[in-house]
Amino acid sequence: MASLTKNPPINPLPLVTKRWLISAAVVFGIYNPSGHSYYHWVTDGSGSLTLKLVVGIFLLAASVALVRMAFLSIGYRGIVAVLSLIYGSILFRVGLGWFEFVDVDIETYAILIWVSTIIGVGISWSFFQRRISGDKYVIKTP
């Protein structure tokens, strides 16, 4: 059997966790409010300029690759779907009575987690699609 037609079972939790951690590392590495991020390191003004350049180009290349892979897998509809799930989870927690809806305060951390969730789910999605329906996400090269 050709390897393209193989459809082995997937292990969803480690699959998504690994990819979510990779995207979170890039997103939080570029910026986070704790003061330890690439953004703070660059605007700090001290240290080796060339090392900053190397890390900067690496982060740029990594984010371009991750965002493109995620976007090609889920597209605008997938982003809307993931955001709807996040919104739904907030409403669910309100419904459970954990907090009032007026108390919901969107912090920078929440937005960063949402962005990394969208990218992580986007990178993982084609494995689920392949397992469920056998469809592959194929990129036609020039």
Partner: protein, 140 residues
């Protein structure tokens, strides 16, 4: 099923370095020097030249296909910045023309290595598959 791991990437990288340096290197021990400085063996030179040309075409075409212009640009910028970092910390002396040529060749080999690996890495990471449409075959 065979998985693409660090060793697979390393092998492709080493093979690219061997290919690029075998074709030309600034230390006088390469196909180019054999071609220009030594006489004779014309048939063997043609054979080796065609073999190297085929390998270069395979590497170039797969790099262009999998990485694309944007990927090649980003990767070259990254390796260039790494070279600059080494120069900045006095680990690399680009005033020596041989080291300058070697750095350029190693950057080319590193781009080849990533170009040969990126389809595998992308498949491992995101499950997406690169494909070649052989019904309307374009030159690259």
């Amino acid at each position: 099923m065979h998985e693409f791991n660090w060793l697979s990437y390393l092998l492709r990288w080493v093979a690219s370095i061997l290919l690029v340096l075998a074709t030309y290197n600034p230390f006088g021990f390469s196909y180019w020097d054999w071609l220009t400085h030594d006489g004779g063996y014309a048939s063997l030179k043609v054979l080796a030249g065609v073999a190297l040309l085929i390998l270069h075409i395979v590497a170039t075409v797969s790099t262009t296909r999998s990485l694309g212009i944007i990927g090649i640009g980003l990767l070259t910028a990254f390796y260039g910045a790494v070279a600059w970092l080494l120069v900045d910390h006095n680990l690399l002396d680009l005033n020596d023309p041989r080291m300058f040529a070697l750095t350029g060749l190693l950057i080319l080999a590193a781009v080849y290595g990533m170009g040969l690996s990126w389809s595998h890495i992308r498949n491992e990471l995101s499950g997406q598959v690169h494909s070649i449409d052989v019904t309307n075959l374009t030159p690259i």
